[in-house]
Amino acid sequence: MTEALLEIANLSKRFREDHDMAARLAARMGMGHEPATVHAVDDVSFSVAPGEVVGLVGESGSGKSTIGRMIAGLLPPTHGTIRFEGADITTRNRAETTAAALQIQMIFQDPMSSLNPRMRVRDIISEAPVYHGIITQSQAREFVAQMLERVGLEPTAGDRYPHQFSGGQRQRIVIARALAVSPQFLICDESVAALDVSIQAQVLNLFMRLRRELGLAYLFISHDLGVVEHISDRVVILYLGRVVEIAPTDALFSDARHPYTQALLAEVPRLSFEKRRFEPIKGEIPSPMNPPPGCHFHTRCPFAGPRCSREVPRLRQDGPRAVACHLEDGGVA
């Protein structure tokens, strides 16, 4: 494999409950309790090669968005490293961090909440490249027209405001803004989840065209396995902050190893021509405040044995795949 574009190693993020005044007072008088800690991300490692699309899949509380935010530099990690083009972006100085931040852009789920409703589209797109000296103010008009054309909008759309566009078009504006600083890496956090099916297909096609034209790499964060299967080269499956399985897309969808992945794949609604019976896995996703010991999934796993509640399974590498399950590593007894 070629040099990784992005490499995250042993990445962890803990959120601690903030004590209010009463709790601080109680703590000072010796009656306090330990602030609750959430292990949102727990020792996660994976890498993304240049031009690769990696899908990051998980349900609520799996930490998928937190990982995206840490890579984009919006949250500092509690532990672990994030290397981009070989350099650790969590410890570098300010100038270098800025340079890396330009290389990594993020696209969120709701375009309306990431666009300033009072700014014209032209200013939204040209603000960052002008600030960072990529273009001058006088070049802005032409530059914006180019960017808009690249994402499939009218070059004249720059004169209008975000509310004058439909949801799909707004998402294209967000993508144009991200592309304006010539990034190498896009983090898409549920970027098509809020769009209608027919519009979602248009935006997914746009992502794939940009990948071909610009050689972009993506971290595609989604709960929608259909979308992830379509767009990703490799898939990372998360459960309660930990990686349970990493595999090339074809291998994962044809032969999932981890019981959680198997359950997810069995339950993803697919177009079927017959009514079918749903056979769901039992139980709720446990609270990340108080995750089960050992393997987080053992409370819902049909194959769980005594070892699963005792010992955290290791993520074992096996060729291009990796899985964290005792079944693959000596049994559950």
Binding site: S166, L204, N205, S272, P280, E284
Partner: protein, 326 residues
């Protein structure tokens, strides 16, 4: 089989300052006992307004301006609010996408449920409580007796949706209208809810109208499907027929743009353009500007016609068998 609920040429329009918005414009369908009817459409197609019309919950500036909603031979379209109150919740109930829309955040689950029981039947509080417990157990809430006196925020999203479903079931209604009830839920929780709903529809004979944008969910659940576009049903029929032999180019486009139907790495089949604004609909077939088969003849209004494969579609240039990829 007799239809429990029959919607005939329903028209619900909104009278806004900018003009009349024909949100629902001539929708007809019927649901039978124990059957699931999937009402599929994208944003602005009128699927939710159709559901609200059936529930008598269309607010100003909207109004039902035409058509009939026949429930047990009675037309509901022109009922007064008082008459509605006797039906809504008891004979026809609704489940929303967001359970917090059903639940009052500052009241205990028990308070809300007992109120819902006593609103329609005169029984003691204790008897009402018993009924609530039984219903909560039916939708798969573990230890309902303990959970019943908790507040909505103490439940997870999936459990809240179960409570909302339980409230809808309290009076064993003949019809349940479910508006995107699993859209906000995680995949594994969604499957649990779908399994519960499937059991309920089969066990109690409740007719279910399942409103969704997600063809995949409805394909494994529904007996019949109606696909809506810009306020009209463009295609309806047995679910297997509509999905296997889509006749309307819009249905065909929707099915083809589902990612898992496509080869990985190859561009998704996409429908060009976007839904037209309801205030400014194209003349004739509203899908015309986006349709690959459109001709000048499409400028005239298309009545629903029967297709060779058995379903109804509003289209004079339906997809031919050869064009429908399997």
């Amino acid at each position: 089989m007799t239809a429990v609920l029959q919607v005939e040429n329903l028209k619900t329009h909104f009278f806004t300052r900018a003009g009349v918005v024909p949100a629902v414009d001539g929708v007809s369908f019927s649901v039978n006992r124990g059957e699931v009817m999937g009402l599929v459409g994208e944003s602005g197609s009128g699927k939710t307004v159709t559901g609200f019309s059936i529930m008598g919950m269309v607010d100003k500036p909207g109004r039902i301006v035409g058509g009939r909603i026949l429930y047990q031979g009675r037309d509901l379209a022109n009922l007064r609010e008082r008459e509605w109150q006797a039906i809504r919740g008891r004979h026809i109930a609704m489940i929303f996408q967001d359970p917090m829309m059903t639940l009052n955040p500052v009241l205990k689950i028990s308070t809300q449920m007992i109120e819902a029981v006593q609103a329609h039947v005169h029984i003691s509080k204790q008897a009402a409580r018993e009924r609530c417990l039984a219903t909560l157990a039916r939708v798969g809430i573990p230890s309902p007796a303990e959970r019943m006196d908790a507040y909505p925020h103490q439940f997870s999203g999936g459990m809240r949706q179960r409570v909302a479903i339980a409230i809808a079931l309290l009076h064993d209604p003949e019809v349940i209208v479910a508006d995107e009830p699993t859209t906000a839920l995680d995949v594994t929780i969604q499957a649990q809810i779908l399994a519960e709903v499937q059991k309920l529809a089969e066990g109690s004979g409740t007719a279910l109208i399942w409103i969704t944008h997600d063809l995949s969910v409805v394909s494994s659940l529904a007996d019949n499907i109606a696909v809506m576009y810009a306020g009209r049903v463009v295609e309806q029929g047995r679910a297997a027929t509509v999905l296997r032999h889509p006749a309307h180019p819009y249905t065909h486009g929707l099915i083809e743009s589902i990612p898992s139907r496509n080869k990985r790495g190859v561009d998704l089949a996409q429908i060009p353009g976007m839904t037209p604004p309801l205030l400014d609909l194209p003349q004739g077939c509203a899908f015309r500007p986006r349709c690959p088969n459109a001709t000048d003849a499409c400028r005239a209004d298309q009545p629903p016609r029967e297709m060779p494969t058995g379903q109804m579609a509003r289209c004079i240039h339906p997809m031919r068998e050869s064009e429908v990829a399997q």
